[in-house]
């Protein structure tokens, strides 16, 4: 009995502070947002105008939100089929033991990740600038007379142009995670494979990649969650416009909720994003843990 209570005290002592912080800064705000989402409220004065699930109805009927959701999915898919494979490819090359310029390339590819999102956005805005940008200069030099595309000013190209910046920025981060994962794979395994007569390709496919799987799953997880939450880069590169062509769920929430003083509506967006991310994380973690034999 005495033992049990002292154990409880220890648990309370160790978990208590984190639990209190988590409750105050995560659990309560989530429920608060859920509460706000049921009202029409501009953030000023008392909360009185109860609208039930009307905010959610408006949200799901709004074409701009559909566009934002679609864009998020596009960013997820592009990240998975371009960013991660690119990072993996670079990691496999740079992570090789005998690669001479490993440190140089690692630093080089990792550099964009060190820049803040806003700086990245501004940098690429300069590159794409229709009057003074690098793209314009490129066209003027190699294809004089041909009009340079105005990538950020065209609803059809803006998302693609932003995707280039996003991949440029984040691929180095994923590459670094994967290199760290590769370094965990012991050299003996490779040597054993070599002695057994496995070719380079076979070793990579059959031995390295399966062993890298847990790291890869983490990288993919970060990539997907990051894609759902992407905000700063897009905001800095034209606020999700023209005509909401590059809107994501978070820019949508900020623009239509915070900027326009529709706190109730913005909360409904926030709750929706939260549910999407939560569902995905729970599902994804369960799947990965299961496939790694870590669950019962």
């Amino acid at each position: 009995m005495k033992n049990k209570s002292s154990q409880f005290l220890l648990l309370a002592f160790l978990l208590g502070p984190a639990l209190i912080l988590f409750t105050f800064f995560v659990v309560i705000p989530v429920f608060q947002a859920a509460f706000f989402s049921l009202f029409k409220w501009n953030g000023l004065g008392p909360i009185v105008d109860f609208r039930g699930i009307n905010n959610f109805k408006l949200l799901f009927a709004d074409e701009v939100f559909h566009k934002a959701l679609t864009n998020n999915l596009i960013i997820v898919i592009v990240s998975l089929i371009i960013e991660i494979p690119l990072a993996l490819y670079a990691a496999l090359i740079i992570g090789r033991k005998n690669f001479k310029f490993a440190i140089l390339f690692r630093t080089f590819f990792f550099l964009p990740y060190v820049l803040s999102e806003v700086i990245t956005g501004l940098l690429w805005q300069f590159i794409y600038h229709p009057q003074y940008g690098l793209v314009k200069m490129f066209f003027a030099f190699f294809a004089p007379g041909v009009d340079a595309p105005t990538l950020l000013g065209n609803p059809k190209t803006v998302l693609g142009a932003i995707m280039v910046a996003i991949i440029w920025k984040y691929f180095g981060f994923h590459m670094s995670i994967l290199i760290a994962g590769l370094q965990d794979i012991s050299e003996e395994v490779r040597e054993a494979a070599k002695i057994d007569g496995a070719s380079e390709g076979q070793t990579t496919r059959r031995i390295i990649l399966p062993l890298l799987r847990p790291t890869l799953m983490i990288s993919i997880f970060f990539s997907i969650i990051g894609s759902f939450q992407v905000f700063d880069v897009i905001w800095a590169m034209g606020k999700g416009d023209p005509v909401n062509s590059a809107e994501t769920m978070v820019t949508y929430m900020y623009k239509f909720g915070m900027q326009r003083f529709n706190i109730g509506y913005g909360s409904a967006v926030a709750v929706t994003i939260f549910l999407i991310c939560l569902t995905f994380s729970v599902f994804y973690n369960r799947q990965t843990l299961k496939s790694e034999g870590m669950t019962k």
């Binding site: 009057q131 950020l152 000013g153 609803p155 416009d241 023209p242 239509f256 003083f261």
Partner: protein, 422 residues
Amino acid sequence: MNLRKIGFVIVLAILTLASCKNPANKPVTVNFWHIGTAATDKAYYQGVVDAYTKLHPNVTIQLTILENEAFKSKLATVMQSGTPPDVFHSWGGGMLAEYAKAGLLRDITKFTKDTDWGKSMAAGVWNVYAYDGKQYGAPFDMGAITFWYNKDILAKVGYTAFPTDFDDLVVLVGKLKAAGIVPIALGGGDKWPAMHMWTYIAERIGGKEVLQNAVQGKGNGFNDPAFIKAGDILVQLVKAGAFQDGFLGATYNDEAALVGNGKAAMELMGQWAPNVEKDSSVSKTGIGAALSAAPFPSIKDGLGKVTDVVGGGNGMAIGKNAPDAAVDFLKFLTNQENNAAYAAAAGIIPTVKGAETGIKDDNAKLVKGIVDKTEFFQLYLDQFLAPAPAGAVNDNVQAILAGTKSPTDACKAIQAAVDSNK
């Protein structure tokens, strides 16, 4: 300490408190937030604050100086927590009305109605800082959106004066385009510059009633044919190549840089345009004396007059907990002398009668000339409307320019946003 001494102290304390009843001597603190981050503005405000506290030694003015965007987000936070500053920067209109509705502002009507202060400015100018017949603040700068054009470029294509008729402007656009010059610089990515153009065209077609009906939710509202026609005209301008390449992604600063560097012939912008053009230009001096201003041209068979103006400016609002000293300070800030001093220092368009003597800058004089002739004054639509419908106006004008929405659908969407905000 014996009882007698304690009694003495109490009596003394009561006497001291009693002497404080006189409000003129009671120490009072006024929280004052302004957004004049430029060196000239900062010095001006500091000067006014120093002068006021010298006259009223019991008043302490606590200054908070914030950059435009930082100000907006910080103000939103303190407003949502119900603790507004005593005197703070405001653009009036719809946002001021939202604050007033939520009871966050102090009604200062008794200080302005039929008083000398009230009479020092035109009623229409005061109205920008009023809601539901009550006064919540005071303007100090009120200008107009006009065409700012490059006289030298216009002369090159044979124009010695700015067109007064819209059809003539379209002809001018064609000539400039043919000469390889960007006719009109437009920061379409920021949306509001395009919104002003759409507002003006609609007003020139339908007249002031159409605008008044729309903002008051009467008649056809934003579904009025004038607004739809204005959209059609914008589409025609895009087709004619009136705006620079990539204008849909351009910011307002891009727009100012095009004019400031002499790459574009004109822009439609407010009284701050010359300064921003200078700052955004490579030379930092803009196009100098080649710059001139002209009112938005009239449209054939349209009901709007050239003297009808879309404009706006800057002022101060009074928070709900503000002491009388805060109101008195605002009155001091907007007296003729200080208003003129600000005009001289920072090129604002003064609101106080007689303060125009302070205007030193030729460009500011041009704007003042246009403002003085105003018969109908409409505050910027995105400032006049509440934030949500204002955002819808900006979004939908951009959609018209991008060709993703027909003018009819865009106007419907705007009206829907106005209706759902009621």
